[in-house]
């Protein structure tokens, strides 16, 4: 048997192939989660159709282009995709390092919102206008608080002591308070909920968790009695329970009632695209933003509504899978935190349109009209991808 050049070459080529396979295996880009991205894009697409349908009659009656909102949402989508790519490229472990800075910037924006620089719409001061684009800082802060708390709990390696819990609580309550002052009850609840879930996953001991729940309920009761919650917020919260005081709860009750009519009248298969009368005749207020689910329920019926909820469940499934597969605590926390916020927003928003939950101004992720929300949600998808790609 003759050992020649050819054999050596074969061995070298084999080694190269194995090397290439290994590098490609570990190349993060090869571990994208296409299901996650496609699902997010599908939801955004449904959102664009629903926004177009919701405002078709209203815009044409005002002689405005019928694509007015859709165009703006498409621009936000483009920015969102860029944000998603950026959030996926930078190694998420490095994000931990930038967390304090992200947190600081978020806080400053929130404070600026409350100054005369902020813009007030419908009695709420939630926006900063930059070059014709309305930025909603609370949406950004949602992300920065999540990352900050996750980073902090990551440090405690699954057994956070009381000091970390206390600091996390403080870091959550400050932006929560600022958002609450806007006032935006829904988003402040999202902050608290997000931190609570991070505590749960991050290994905070059960007795602390129970203590926090009891303390939280106590704070709500005190806040209620001290009148810290604005009148309209109380009435909105109680309207869905058909509160006795009809006049105070009238607006919220009207919204809920019209929303129920819209969704209920969609029946099983829906009235068909652009055929929704409740939608097109503006019976449901804010039906391109907070009440967008009424358009889906009315025009696509139970079938369409189920498809949308199903798509969210796909996101939840991929998110939880990423949380489990993550190789470190930070990744698990970020992924489960995103899943928790997504679930809460979907439940509160859809629950509000079907009369299960009080009327609060929370957008439906990916679907509601609103640039900041869409961009931040794509950034969160980017973070999930990031954790997923670097799981080995």
């Amino acid at each position: 048997m003759e050992i020649g050049y050819g054999q050596d070459r074969e061995q070298r080529m084999l080694r190269d192939r194995v090397q290439a396979r290994w590098t490609s295996t570990y190349s993060p880009v090869r571990h994208l989660d296409p299901v996650l991205v496609l699902t997010a894009l599908a939801l955004t697409g449904i959102g664009l159709v629903a926004i177009y349908s919701a405002k078709l009659v209203a815009l044409s009656s005002q002689d405005l282009p019928t694509t007015f909102y859709v165009t703006r949402q498409l621009i936000a989508l483009a920015i969102g995709v860029i944000a998603m790519v950026l959030a996926a490229i930078i190694d998420y472990r490095q994000v931990r390092i930038y967390a304090p800075a992200l947190y600081g910037i978020g806080l400053i924006l929130l404070i600026l919102t409350l100054t005369p620089l902020g813009t007030e719409i419908n009695g709420s001061q939630r926006w900063i206008v930059i070059g014709g684009f309305q930025l909603q800082p609370s949406e950004l802060v949602k992300l920065s608080v999540l990352v900050t708390i996750a980073a902090l709990l990551h440090e405690s390696k699954g057994a956070p002591h009381i000091g970390h819990v206390g600091l996390s609580l403080l870091l959550t309550l400050v932006p929560t308070g600022l958002v609450f002052l806007q006032p935006d009850l829904g988003t402040s609840l999202v902050f608290i909920w997000g931190t609570a879930v991070l505590f749960l996953i991050g290994g905070v001991q059960a007795r602390y968790l129970i203590g926090l729940v009891v303390g939280g309920i106590g704070a709500i009761v005190v806040g209620w009695q001290q009148g810290l919650v604005a009148e309209y917020q109380v009435s909105r919260l109680t309207a869905f329970l058909e509160a006795a005081d009809a006049t105070a709860a009238q607006t919220a009750a009207f919204q809920t009632r019209q929303s129920l009519i819209a969704i209920g009248s969609g029946q099983f298969a829906g009235k068909g695209l652009f055929e929704g009368t409740q939608t097109s005749l503006s019976y449901v207020p804010e039906n391109h933003t907070d009440f967008i689910f009424t358009v889906i329920g009315e025009e696509f019926g139970f079938l369409g509504a189920s498809v949308v909820l199903g798509l969210y469940l796909v996101l939840v499934w991929r998110g939880l899978r990423i949380a489990i597969l993550s190789k470190d605590m930070f990744g698990t926390l970020v992924a489960s935190g995103i899943v928790a916020i997504l679930t809460l927003q979907v439940f509160v928003n859809v629950g509000m349109t079907v009369g299960l939950m009080p009327v609060t101004g929370l957008p439906l992720p990916f679907i509601s009209y609103g640039g900041t929300s869409l961009i931040v949600w794509f950034a969160m998808i980017g973070l999930l991808l990031n954790v997923h790609m670097r799981r080995f």
């Binding site: 969704i263 209920g264 969609g266 190789k327």
Partner: protein, 674 residues
């Protein structure tokens, strides 16, 4: 896996989160299934009621015309300012917002109405919420211009043209035509008015009421698609109002005018007549009916006093309502020709005479003595012509002279014969009904009364209904008084039909009651060879396009069932009433060209207690080929020949173009209290 230092707890905790998430999603799915699949139908209805608004527009009501096509009632377009209640008022009936408040204030200023008055009218529960509420009708053109030119200042305010009832002939035929009014809450609940809405006008009396379904038409209905701000986006369906049909009546406009005029003049002139006892005739009220002798068509019908139907437009005023219901006004709303029940007196003798012949008490040419008086059970019944025996008379003579005793004796004999039977068939009731007495004649006007043909069964029922009261009154009356005796007798034996009752009934007195229309109809049957025709006012119904929808054909109600000979003798007697020198109506027709136009008729003077008697006269002409029957009744007008007969004469003179109503004069006849 997560951090190497951790145990299984992060996975456990993630599972907990997963379960929580799935539970929340399941709650949403369950709720959606309930809303959309299980109860979706209800929400579909709610969505439709949200977006659809029904706007009802009134259909112009049909006109009522005289036989020659002249309009008795028609519609006139009137400019109106209306407002949309839903735009201006909230559920509590208060101005919806500041803008609504300003619009209401402007409206008040424009129409010179109080602020609260505008809100009251706008919120009136009698108005349908489905159409604009008229705030003011019959506004001047300028007001309409003001609103139209500044529509932005008058949100929710509309100008419209509403049909308003108009009476070109004024009060003419007011009792026939009737009046209209807004539908009441009770009527709205009535199944008969299911397709009516609050604020709708509905016929309240007369032809307006009896032909309501034809005259009303079908309201228009527009189904509008509106958005949440009540802006109209689309018209889903639009059904134009269908105008009501017109009613062409049998009323001879010229004769109607003459009848009303002559009745009024006659009644008012008769008040100058001094009776033999020195008193002046009160002649408080009266009525007249002219029928076509062959068809039963009502040619004219008048009731005095009358009223002005225009006063009912847009609601009756307090003053006019008080005037109408004052006792001295003698109930002007009542159409006495059909709703006045009087003892018929001697005009009833045709029916009672026929009944006696039918019962076999006498033949058509058989005679009875026309004695001065007749005694039954200790009570003396006198002939009207006091103290003279006029000798033997047959039916013809008895009618001519209106001899009471001829009828008394026959009625008494008949009563005795009937008393002997176990369950007697009462001839007067049976024949009376054939003449049209004691029953409805099915006239196409509301409020027609039946009158009364009393007999044994009636008396028994009447006694049973009143016995207790009579007995109590008898107890209360002073001991030994005549009153007590009478009441005690009534209490004990009031259920018995006695000879005196039969005798009284035979001359249309006692408990016999009849409407002027019934008297006219009975003579129409005599004039029409014994065939009683259904009296009717409607002739035909014509659609808005002029096409005849329905012809109202003359209809026979029945036959008098009399021998030709009996009818001939009866007609001979009725002709003699006017054309024989000894006839009771002769004096009233003095100078009437009876040779060219022979007239047959009958006088009647109905006693009504202590009051001055009621004057009756009924006639048909020409007697040999009758075309018209005229009856006149004057309450407390004295003798039939005295007051009613001259009025009938004047009506006939107008009808036959002898003397026009305008030139006629009332000349009282002789005072014969038959």
């Amino acid at each position: 896996m997560a951090s190497p230092s951790s145990d299984a707890s992060p996975v456990l905790r993630l599972t907990f989160l997963a379960v929580l998430v799935i539970a929340l999603f399941l709650a949403l799915f369950a709720r959606l299934w309930f809303l959309q699949v299980l109860t979706g139908d209800r929400y579909v209805e709610l969505a439709d009621s949200n977006r659809l608004r029904t706007v009802v527009s009134e259909a112009p009501r049909g006109s009522i015309l005289a036989a020659d096509g002249e309009e008795l009632v028609r519609n006139r377009p009137a400019l109106a300012i209306s407002a949309d209640r839903q735009v201006l008022l909230d559920d509590a009936g208060e101005p919806r917002d500041e803008e609504a408040e300003r619009v209401i204030a402007r409206l008040g200023e424009l129409l010179d109405l109080d602020h609260d008055e505008v809100i009251d009218r706008l919120g009136s529960q009698r108005r349908s919420p489905f159409r604009p509420v008229p705030i003011e009708t019959d506004v001047p053109q300028e007001v309409v211009f003001t609103v139209r030119e500044q529509q932005e200042l008058f949100t929710g305010v509309e100008t419209e043209t509403l049909p308003v009832r108009e009476y070109p002939e004024g009060t003419l035929a007011s009792h026939l035509v009737g009046y209209i009014g807004e539908i009441s809450q009770e009527e709205l609940l009535d199944p008969e008015f299911t397709d009516y809405l609050g604020g709708d006008l509905v016929g309240r009396s007369g032809l307006e009421q009896s032909y309501e379904s034809e005259l009303r038409g079908t309201p228009g209905r527009r189904l509008l698609v509106v958005n949440a701000r009540e802006n109209v986006l689309d018209v889903q369906s639009d059904r134009a109002p269908i105008p009501g049909n017109d009613l062409i009546t049998t009323i001879d406009l010229d004769l109607q005018q003459a009848t009303e005029r002559l009745l009024e003049e006659g009644i008012e002139s008769s008040r100058d007549i001094q009776r033999d006892d020195g008193r002046f005739l009160p002649s408080v009220a009266g009525s007249a009916v002219a029928l076509d002798a062959r068809t039963g068509a009502v040619l004219s019908m008048a009731s005095y006093p009358d009223y002005d139907p225009r006063e009912f437009l847009g609601g009756l005023s307090q003053d006019y309502a008080e005037l109408l219901f004052e006792p001295e006004s003698y109930q002007p709303l009542v159409n006495r020709a059909i709703a006045g029940e009087y003892p018929p007196g001697s005009v009833f003798k045709t029916a009672s005479g026929a009944a006696m012949i039918e019962a076999g008490q006498i033949g058509p040419r058989g005679t009875r003595d026309c004695d001065a008086e007749f005694e039954v059970g200790g009570v003396t019944f006198r002939n009207w012509n006091r103290g003279v025996n006029e000798g033997p008379m047959d039916l013809s003579d008895a009618l001519k002279r209106s001899c009471d005793t001829y009828f008394y004796t026959l009625a008494y004999d008949n009563w005795q014969q009937e008393q002997a039977q176990d369950d007697p068939e009462e001839a007067l009731i049976e024949v009376g009904e054939r003449f049209g007495f004691g029953r409805s004649l099915d006239l196409d006007l509301p409020g027609e009364l039946d009158g009364r043909l009393p007999g044994r069964a009636w008396r028994q029922a009447y006694w049973e209904a009143n016995r207790d009261r009579w007995c109590e009154q008898a107890e209360a009356a002073p001991e030994g008084s005549v009153e007590r005796e009478l009441l005690a007798d009534n209490c004990q034996f009031g259920g018995a039909w006695r000879g005196g009752d039969a005798v009284n009934s035979s001359i249309g007195q006692g408990d016999v009651l009849s409407t002027p229309l019934q008297v006219a109809a009975s003579y129409q049957a005599i004039a029409n060879d014994g065939v009683l025709m259904r009296p009717h006012v409607g002739d035909r119904i014509v659609g808005p396009d002029g096409e005849v929808v329905e012809e109202i054909e003359p209809e026979a109600l029945g036959d008098l069932g009399l021998d030709d000979q009996v009818l001939a003798v009866m007609r001979e007697g009725l002709e003699a009433v006017l054309m024989d020198a000894s006839g009771t109506g002769e004096s009233a027709f003095d100078g009437f060209p009876l040779a060219e136009i022979p007239v047959a008729g009958k006088t009647g003077t109905a006693e009504a207690g202590p009051r001055v008697p009621y004057s009756w006269f009924v006639a048909y002409a020409p007697a040999d080929d009758p075309e018209i029957v005229v009856v006149v009744n004057v309450e407390q007008g004295g003798g039939g020949s005295q007051t009613a007969a001259p009025i009938v004469r004047n009506i006939l003179e107008h009808h036959f173009r002898i003397t026009a109503a305008e030139d006629a004069e009332f000349e009282a006849g002789e005072e014969i209290l038959d």
